[in-house]
C-alpha cells in the first residue's frame, strides 16, 4: 500500500477511527475490533475505509478484504439510516418469519438487502438474536421486537419512522 498516494480525508469520522486505532494498535490481533469500530462510524466499510485501516494497521488490503467478506456482520454497501434485520433462525422460521419478511419487503417496496428510496430503512435477514422465545423476531438497529405478525411488523416500522420524524 502506497501511503503517499492515498489521501486521508481530514474529518471527524476518520479522526475518531484513527484515535481508536491508536488506542488498540498494541493489543494483539486488533483488525476485527477496528473494523467493528469503522463500521459503527461509517455505517459500512467502503474501499476507502478499508484502505485507511490497511495503511494504519499495516495489514495488506487483500487480507482486510478477506476478513471483511468472510464475516456476515461486515457490509461493503451503504445502508439506510436504520437497519431492519428479520431473524430467519430456526425458531423464527418455524413460527413464520418468512411471511413477516415478505410483508415488510412488500410494505417498503424493496427486496431483501435493499434500501428504501428515502434511505431510511435497509431490510436484511440475520440468524438468531437469541430471542427465540419471542419468535418471530426482528431487530431495528439494536432494538428487538418479538411475537410478530405481518401486520404487527408493518405497524412497528411505520410507528418507528413516525416517532423519528416527530
Amino acid at each position: 500500500m502506497d501511503n503517499a498516494r492515498f489521501h486521508i480525508p481530514d474529518n471527524e469520522e476518520y479522526r475518531a477511527l484513527k484515535k481508536f486505532i491508536e488506542e488498540h494498535r498494541n493489543t494483539p490481533g486488533p483488525l476485527i475490533q477496528v473494523l467493528h469500530k469503522a463500521q459503527s462510524i461509517f455505517g459500512y466499510l467502503p474501499p476507502e475505509v478499508q484502505k485507511f485501516v490497511s495503511s494504519e494497521l499495516n495489514v495488506p488490503l487483500s487480507e482486510i478484504y478477506g476478513v471483511v467478506t468472510f464475516y456476515n456482520f461486515f457490509r461493503t454497501e451503504p445502508i439506510g439510516k436504520h437497519v431492519i434485520n428479520v431473524c430467519t433462525g430456526t425458531a423464527c422460521h418455524v413460527k413464520g418469519s418468512k411471511v413477516v419478511l415478505e410483508a415488510l419487503c412488500k410494505e417498503l417496496g424493496v427486496e431483501v438487502g435493499g434500501t428504501t428510496e428515502d434511505k431510511f430503512y435497509t431490510i436484511s435477514t440475520a440468524r438468531c438474536f437469541g430471542a427465540c422465545g419471542l419468535a418471530p423476531v426482528m431487530v431495528i438497529d439494536e432494538e428487538v421486537f418479538g411475537r410478530l405478525s405481518p401486520q404487527k411488523a408493518i405497524n412497528i416500522i411505520k410507528d418507528f419512522k413516525k416517532a423519528e420524524e416527530n
Binding site: 476485527i32 478477506g66 456482520f73 461486515f74 405481518p150
Partner: protein, 1025 residues
C-alpha cells in the same frame, strides 16, 4: 361516559344470602346523597370466589377488595374512599387470606421441574451491580481456590464433578483443564466461547446478560488451574446488551481487585478482554474461533495440534463455553460430589435448554440431565398450542436432528440424544407441530450450513450443495425415489470426510429426518404432496391441501365473496357431493390450516359453505344420469358417505351403479349415527336424492349375502362400504347387564324411531363424537344427570371442541381421568351402578399421548340407570367379508393406491377400512370410483380442469385489517335440550357469509398448476353437467 370509579358488588348466591343486595342499594343511595352518581358506577357481578368472606366488593381502577361488608360501613366507605381517595383499611381483604389464595393458585408447572444452578442468579440480581453478585456468594469460590487449593486440586475437583462441556460435544471439562495445564508454555490463555451461533439457542446470552460475573469468576478459576493470566471472551456482535453488561462487569471486577494483579493478595493475576465476533457460525468451532480472535478469517485449522497444546497465538489455550464456565463456582462452593449427585450416570449436573417453536411456554429452562423429552415439552413447555399435534423436537441446531413422538420417554443426556441421531449441542430445543414439513426443515438447516460453510474443504463446500439441490427438487415436486438413497450416501460421506465439526455434523438434520420421516419424503416424491402444507409448489391453498377430499375451498370462498352460490356449489360438488352434511358435521380440516388464522382468526369456511349448500337443496337437481352409459356394472354395498360418493362420481364417469343398503333408510352413519339436532335427516336425504337423480340406484332393505351372488347378477366390480357397526367391548364384569347399550346402537335405535327408556342417571363412557352425541341425546330424552366418563383429560378428547363446549353448556357433566372397573347389576340383572377408578397420565405411548394408568385406592361408585359405552367400533364380519384380508385391528385391508381389497375387482372404503369422518369416507369413495374406472381400462378421468387462481371482484384491501370471524346463530340452550329436532347451530345469514368469505387472504393467488397426475384435464365442469 366513563366514570371515575367502578364499584363491583358481588351478586353471587352466597353474597346475596349475606345481603349483598342491601349493600348495593345502600351504596347507590349514599352515592346519590353525596352527589357522586355521575362519577361512580355501581355494578353487580357474578360470583367472585371467596364466598365465605361475603358480601364482597371490588373498587376499580385501584382494585381495592372489600370483604364482610355491613350496611353501616357504607357511609364511611363512600366518604373516605370514594370521596377522599383513602381506602378503608379495616375492611380491606388482606393476608393471610390473600396469601392463601396465592398459594392455592395453580402455578404454571414451568418452574416446578426445574433445578436452577447456572440460571440461579438470572432474574434475581442486578447484573450491573457487582455487590449483588457478591451477596450471592460471588467470588467466594475464586477466593477459596486461590487461598486453599492447589491448581491440581481444582482440576481434580472438576474431574470428579463429571462436568462436561456445555457447548455441544460434551468433552469432560476437568480433562481439558488437565491437558492444558500439562502443556508446556510460558504463556497460556483461557478463552470463553460466547459465540452462540446455533439458531434456537440463547442460554449463553441470558447468562451473560443476567449473571456476567459468574462467567468471569469461572474464567479466573480456570486460569488459576491451568496457569494462565489472561482470558478472552469471544462474544457475538448480535448480543449488544450482553456486551454492555460484560464490559460493566469487567470494569467493576477490576475496580474491586477481583480481576487484575495479585487477586486476594496472592501471586495470581488474571485479566479479561472482550473480543467481538462478526457473524460467522463456524467461529463456534474452537480453532476457527482462535483464528478470529487473532484477527483473521475464521477458518478452522486441522487438529491436532489441539488448542490445549497450540492455541491462541500458538500458546496453550483452554476454550470453554459460557454455560460450562458458569457452573464452575457452584462446583467449587458445593463440592464435586454434590454436582455429581445431579443428573445421570454419564451426564452430570443440569443443562439449560432454550425451548422455542410450537410450544406454549417458551424460554430458558434449566433441568437435571436425564429428564425426558416428554416432560420438557409437556410439563415444562405446557404442550402444543392452538390444538395442534406434536410432531418432533429438533435439538442441536443445524448440527442436530429431529426426534419423533415415539421417543418422548427418552431421557435427555449426551449419549441418549446421540443414539437417536441428534446431539445435545448447545441446548436449543425447538418443538415442531403437525404443520411442520420435515423435508422443508431439513432443507432449511442445510441452507444454513451451506451459507456458513467456510469453503475450505470440498465435502462440506460441494457435498452440502448437492444435498441441498436434491432437497430443493423434492420440495418442488421433481424428486425421484433414487434421491433418497443418494441423500443418505452423500450425508454419510460428508460426515466422514469433512475437516471440522460444521461439515461433520451438517448432514445430521437430513439423515435424522430420513430415518424417522422417510414416509414424508416418499409422499413428496411419489404423490407430490406436502401434507403439512409448507412446500408451496405442491399445492394451491392450505385449506384445499388439508381437506382429505381436496375440496377447493379457496375457490368456493372466492365465489361466495361475490355471492355466486351456484358456482360455489359446483366447485364443491367436484370433490364432495355432501356439502350440506359437511357444513354441519365436518371437523373442518380446511380451517385448521387457514392462513388467516395466523393473522387473526381462520375464515369460517364451514359456515360459509352451509349457505350455498342449503341453497342448492331447494333448487332443482342439476346433475343428470349419463346418457350413453358404460357397459360395466358396479355394485356398491352400503349407502353411507363412502358408498354414495363412489356412486355419484361413477355416474360422472358414465356408469349407472347400484347401491345395496340393508337398512330401510339410506345415509349410513349420516342418518342413523348422528342425532337429528346436529344433522337433520331431511338435509341428508335431500342430498342423497340429488345423487339418485344423477344416476345412482339405491335398493333399500337389501342385505347382500355374498360377493359371488353379485357376480352372478352380472356386476363387474364391487365397492364395499359397509361401515363398522360392531361396538368394541370394554371387557369388564357386568357388561352384559340390561341397560348397557353401545353408543352406536343407542343412536341408531333412536334415529330409526325406537323408544328407549333412559331413566334418570345416564353414564356415557368414552371421549369421541359418539360419546357427546349419545350423552346429549340421552339428555334430550329426559335423563336428569348425564355424565361423560373419559380415561384421559379434556385436552385429549377426540370429540370436536364445539361438541364439548355445547355439551358443557347443556349441563352434561364430565369425569376425566377415570376408567370403569365393573358394571353392578341388581337382582334382576339390570344395571344399578358403575364402579370406577381414577387414572393418572403416565408415560407417553407411540402416538405421543400419555397413557392413563389406574391409581390404586381411588375406586368409587356412581349410580346409573343406563350405561352407554362409546369406545369405538369395528367391522361386522359376515359371509360378505369371507376370504378378504384384514388389518390386525379387524378392518378390511386395501391397497392404498387402488383401494382394491385382496380380491380382484373388489374395492373397499369408509369405516370398513378405517374409522373416519364423513369427509374422509367421501374422499375414499371418490378415489375408489376413479380406481374402478381405471380397473376397467379407462382413464379414471373426473372433471378436473386446471385449478388456477380466481380473482373475485371486490375491494380486498378493505379486508386486510383485523376482522374477527363471524359466528353462527345458536338455538337457545333451554329450548334445545328439550328437543331432538331443534338444530343447535342455526347457521349465519347470507350477508354475514359473504362478509366472512371476504376475509379470505387468497393463498391460491399466483398458483396455477395441475394438481394430481391421476386426474388430468379432460372436460370442463359445465360439460360434465
Amino acid at each position: 361516559m366513563a366514570k371515575r370509579l367502578d364499584v363491583l358488588v358481588c351478586g353471587g348466591g352466597a353474597c346475596i344470602s349475606s345481603h349483598s343486595h342491601e349493600i348495593k342499594d345502600k351504596l347507590i343511595k349514599v352515592i346519590e346523597e353525596k352527589g357522586l352518581s355521575d362519577e361512580i358506577n355501581v355494578v353487580e357481578t357474578g360470583c367472585m370466589g371467596p364466598c365465605e368472606l361475603g358480601p364482597v366488593m371490588v373498587v376499580y381502577p385501584d382494585g381495592s377488595f372489600y370483604i364482610k361488608l355491613k350496611e353501616e360501613d357504607i357511609e364511611e366507605l363512600v366518604e373516605e374512599h370514594f370521596l377522599k381517595g383513602r381506602p378503608v383499611k379495616r375492611l380491606l381483604w388482606e393476608t393471610p387470606e390473600a396469601r392463601k389464595i396465592v398459594e392455592e393458585k395453580k402455578q404454571i408447572p414451568f418452574f416446578e421441574k426445574q433445578k436452577k444452578i447456572v440460571l440461579s442468579n438470572c432474574g434475581k440480581i442486578d447484573p450491573e451491580n457487582i455487590n449483588e453478585y457478591i451477596a450471592q456468594r460471588g467470588y467466594e469460590a475464586l477466593g477459596k481456590v486461590l487461598t486453599e487449593m492447589k491448581p491440581e486440586d481444582v482440576i481434580e475437583e472438576m474431574i470428579n464433578s463429571g462436568l462436561r462441556g456445555r457447548g455441544g460435544a460434551g468433552f469432560p471439562t476437568g480433562l481439558k483443564w488437565k491437558f492444558t495445564r500439562a502443556s508446556e508454555g510460558d504463556q497460556k490463555y483461557v478463552v470463553c466461547n460466547a459465540d452462540e451461533g446455533d439458531p434456537g439457542a440463547f442460554m449463553d446470552r441470558a447468562v451473560l446478560e443476567g449473571d456476567p460475573h459468574a462467567v468471569l469468576e469461572g474464567m479466573a478459576i480456570a486460569g488459576y488451574a491451568i496457569g494462565a493470566n489472561m482470558g478472552y471472551i469471544y462474544v457475538r456482535a448480535e448480543y449488544p446488551l450482553a456486551i454492555k453488561r460484560l464490559e460493566i462487569a469487567i470494569k467493576q471486577a477490576k475496580e474491586l481487585g477481583l480481576l487484575g494483579k495479585n487477586i486476594f493478595e496472592t501471586d495470581f493475576s488474571f485479566d479479561v478482554e472482550l473480543r467481538m465476533g462478526a457473524g460467522a457460525f463456524v467461529c463456534g468451532e474452537e480453532t476457527a474461533l482462535i483464528a478470529s480472535i487473532e484477527g483473521e478469517r475464521g477458518q478452522p485449522r486441522p487438529k491436532p495440534p489441539y488448542p490445549a497444546q497450540k492455541g491462541l497465538w500458538g500458546k496453550p489455550t483452554l476454550i470453554n463455553n459460557v454455560e460450562t464456565l458458569a457452573n464452575i463456582r457452584h462446583i467449587i462452593l458445593n463440592g464435586a460430589s454434590w454436582f455429581a449427585s445431579i443428573g445421570t450416570e454419564k451426564s452430570k449436573g443440569t443443562k439449560v435448554f432454550a425451548l422455542s417453536g410450537n410450544v406454549r411456554n417458551t424460554g430458558l429452562v434449566e433441568v437435571p440431565m436425564g429428564i425426558t423429552l416428554g416432560e420438557l415439552v409437556y410439563d415444562i413447555g405446557g404442550g402444543i398450542p392452538n390444538g395442534k399435534k406434536f410432531k418432533a423436537v429438533q435439538t442441536g441446531g443445524p448440527s442436530g436432528g429431529c426426534i419423533p413422538k415415539k421417543f418422548l420417554n427418552s431421557p435427555i443426556d449426551y449419549e441418549s440424544l446421540k443414539a437417536l441421531g441428534s446431539i445435545m449441542g448447545s441446548g436449543g430445543l425447538i418443538v415442531l407441530d403437525e404443520d411442520t414439513c420435515m423435508v422443508n426443515m431439513a432443507k432449511f438447516f442445510l441452507e444454513f450450513s451451506i451459507e456458513e460453510s467456510c469453503g475450505q474443504c470440498s465435502p462440506c463446500r460441494i457435498g452440502l450443495r448437492q444435498m441441498y439441490e436434491i432437497l430443493d427438487r423434492i420440495t418442488n415436486g421433481e424428486g425421484k425415489l433414487e434421491d433418497i438413497d443418494r441423500l443418505q450416501e452423500l450425508g454419510e460421506t460428508i460426515k466422514a470426510t469433512s475437516l471440522c465439526g460444521l461439515g461433520q455434523s451438517a448432514p445430521n438434520p437430513v439423515l435424522s429426518t430420513l430415518k424417522y420421516f422417510r414416509d414424508e419424503y416418499i409422499k413428496h416424491i411419489v404423490d407430490k404432496e406436502c401434507e403439512a402444507g409448507v412446500c408451496a409448489s405442491l399445492f394451491y391453498a392450505p385449506c384445499e391441501n388439508n381437506c382429505p377430499a381436496n375440496v377447493d375451498a379457496a375457490r368456493y370462498i372466492s365465489y361466495m365473496a361475490e355471492g355466486k352460490l351456484e358456482l360455489a356449489y359446483y366447485t364443491h360438488m367436484k370433490n364432495n357431493p355432501f356439502p350440506s352434511v359437511c357444513a354441519r358435521v365436518c371437523p373442518a380440516f380446511c380451517e385448521k390450516r387457514c392462513e388467516r388464522g395466523k393473522f387473526d382468526e381462520p375464515v369460517a369456511i364451514r359456515e360459509v359453505k352451509r349457505l350455498f349448500a342449503d341453497w342448492a337443496l331447494n333448487e332443482p337437481p342439476k346433475f343428470t344420469p349419463p346418457e350413453d352409459s358404460k357397459k360395466e356394472k358396479v355394485a356398491i354395498i352400503g349407502a353411507g358417505p363412502a358408498g354414495l360418493a363412489c356412486g355419484f362420481y361413477l355416474t360422472r364417469m358414465g356408469y349407472k351403479p347400484v347401491v345395496f343398503e340393508a337398512l330401510p333408510i339410506p345415509g349410513g352413519m349420516m342418518t342413523v349415527g348422528i342425532p337429528e339436532y346436529r344433522l337433520p335427516k331431511k338435509v341428508t336425504l335431500k342430498e342423497i336424492e340429488i345423487i339418485e337423480k344423477a344416476g345412482v340406484e339405491i335398493r333399500l332393505n337389501t342385505r347382500v349375502e355374498s360377493l359371488d351372488k353379485l357376480k352372478e347378477e352380472g356386476f363387474d366390480a364391487v365397492f364395499i362400504a359397509t361401515g363398522a357397526h360392531t361396538s368394541r367391548k370394554m371387557n369388564i364384569p357386568g357388561e352384559d347387564a340390561e341397560g348397557v347399550i353401545s353408543g352406536i346402537d343407542f343412536l341408531r335405535k333412536i334415529n330409526l324411531g325406537e323408544n328407549i327408556e333412559v331413566g334418570e342417571n345416564v353414564i356415557v363412557i368414552g371421549g369421541g363424537s359418539t360419546a357427546t352425541d349419545a350423552a346429549r341425546t340421552a339428555l334430550r330424552l329426559g335423563a336428569k344427570n348425564v355424565k361423560i366418563v373419559y380415561r384421559r383429560t379434556k385436552a385429549e378428547m377426540p370429540a370436536l371442541p364445539e361438541e364439548i363446549i355445547e355439551s358443557e353448556e347443556e349441563g352434561i357433566e364430565f369425569e376425566f381421568l377415570t376408567n370403569p372397573l365393573e358394571i353392578i347389576k341388581d337382582e334382576k340383572g339390570k344395571v344399578k351402578a358403575v364402579r370406577f377408578i381414577r387414572t393418572e397420565l403416565g408415560e407417553f405411548d407411540d402416538s405421543g399421548r400419555r397413557r392413563p394408568v389406574p391409581v390404586e385406592g381411588t375406586e368409587f361408585t356412581v349410580k346409573a340407570d343406563l350405561v352407554i359405552p362409546c369406545i369405538g367400533q369395528k367391522l361386522t364380519m359376515s359371509k360378505l367379508h369371507a376370504g378378504l384380508e384384514l388389518y390386525p385391528n379387524g378392518h378390511l385391508k386395501v391397497d392404498p393406491e387402488t383401494m382394491m381389497t385382496s380380491k380382484e375387482g373388489v374395492f373397499a372404503g369408509g369405516d370398513a377400512i378405517y374409522p373416519s369422518t364423513v369427509i374422509e369416507s367421501v374422499a375414499q369413495g371418490r378415489k375408489a370410483a376413479i380406481a374402478i374406472d381405471k380397473y376397467f381400462g379407462y382413464e379414471g378421468a373426473l372433471f378436473e380442469e386446471e385449478r388456477g387462481e380466481y380473482v373475485p371482484d371486490y375491494d380486498e384491501e378493505a379486508y386486510l385489517k383485523t376482522i374477527l370471524r363471524k359466528k353462527p346463530e345458536y338455538s337457545d340452550i333451554r329450548e334445545r335440550i328439550k328437543s331432538m329436532a331443534l338444530e343447535v347451530n342455526k347457521g349465519m345469514s347470507l350477508k354475514d357469509a359473504i362478509e366472512e368469505a371476504r376475509r379470505c387472504l387468497h393463498c391460491d393467488r399466483g398458483k396455477s398448476l395441475l394438481k394430481k397426475k391421476v386426474e388430468k384435464k379432460h372436460k370442463s365442469l359445465e360439460e360434465m353437467l
